[in-house]
Amino acid sequence: MWFLVMLIFPLIVILVFSFGERAAYGGYAGGFTFEQYANLPTRLKAFQNTMVIAPLGTLLSLLVAYPLAYFLAVKVSRQYKLILLVLVIVPFWTSLLVRTYAWIFILGGKGIPFLLEWIGFEGVRLINTQGAVLVGIVYGYLPLMVFPIFVSLEKLDKSLLEASSDLGGSPVKTFLQITLPLSMPGIATGCMLVFILLMGEFLIPAFLGGGKVFFIGNALVDLFLQSRNWPFGAAVSVTLVAIMLITVSLYMRMMMGRKTGRDESLM
């Protein structure tokens, strides 16, 4: 019941809000109009940024996480495996706020740019760029990506790898034809988790994007807490949730399709 109350009801209220009009002092006035949705293009940049950087960030996290997960699951001996895995997960449970703050430090004026200047590269600006936001994303969400991939690689039957190399498969071929397809479920879970969270990200672009690289999340904070344009904010969040649902269901269908495709080819 709690779930129904806390999850469904608010979403309905937001939906109603998004068709309403803005009251004189902010807040909400009743009505039914599509005006708020017609206004969406004014925040186009936020949608564009999110739709470009969120998938890119997910992909980058995957590229960084996969070798690490592979290393932990396949190469590390049993006794160190758990400790190393815990070391990867722990940062995720500590404050993202404080961890992102660290990157303001590192990428800011007295961090890496200062060191670069020392070597001879002058005027390098790292903070408040897309690159900075991407670094923050990979840093923040890496644990979430490593964990599911690790789990699926861990379950992988090592004798399959031996069989492949016994049958003359090169390491690359073994990886591409056995390891990678079998770790697909982990990759899918990891990508989905990271992508969903990135769609609603606020902190990382707020700190490392410095008003230049902003996400839908930043637009929402602005609309709800600063300019208090709730109906428009509601329209933006309905659109966000809709985009999220569409991409996730498309993605899941794609994954499912791939799975059945493979089963058929096996037959």
Binding site: P67, S95, I196, E201
Partner: protein, 270 residues
Amino acid sequence: MRIYATAVFLFLYVPIGIIVLFSFNAGRHASELRGLSVQWYGKALSNPFVGDAFFTSLIVALSVAVLSSLLGTTAALALQRLKGKIRVLFDGLIYVSVMIPGIVIGIATLVALVTVFDFLNPILASFWPEGVKPPKLTMGYVSVIAAHTLFTMSLVIILVRARIAGMDRALIEASLDLYATPWRTFYQVTLPQIYPAILAGFLLSFTFSFDDFIISFFVAGANTTLPIYIFASIRRGITPEVNAIGTMVLAASLFLLMAAQFLLRARTKR
């Protein structure tokens, strides 16, 4: 491979190390290290705003942890008995509430509660006698606690259910066969087996609530939790004081995480 893994671990931990290192800065500027001292810890601890924010966070996190472990455990036990479509529906809802981004939970709670309050406040006021100021429902502790609990409760449910799944049902049947009342069976058989998971869930809920920024940012109303305070001070400019507070927050979550890990480990050993 080994070098790569080391590099990733460095990538994960060097930034945290830098925060900690600069919190012991003796100088006045956050970005220049001039000798080591603990003066900023003193400054942070004597700052009344930090103290207030800390206690707000503490109260919220404690209530969230207590509520979510109570509700989560009972929900997990109840879900165990459900069958068929309803169970699939609830399972789905649990995962949805874990996966939904915090910002959506925050906005949804904010908008929903404000609407409910706008509806209830005039009704409440009409019950109050003339001249006496009627109580007004606003955003505050309760809204933050409710929003956090939505997320953390699902976490507890998932943890406890994993534990129940590993439990031997024969024990419960044996206990009932030996004429123990259902209550007594719960106390003496079920509870001792699932309590490590409940405690771990309690600690994780506490950590989540204590560290959460985005949900609180939307629904906290006039209250300031510690992460909101940190956010505001970072916006004002970075000082070693922020590093000191950050280091303390990190240390607190690390301690709780280790406790949770220890409990979950104790469970697998038995």
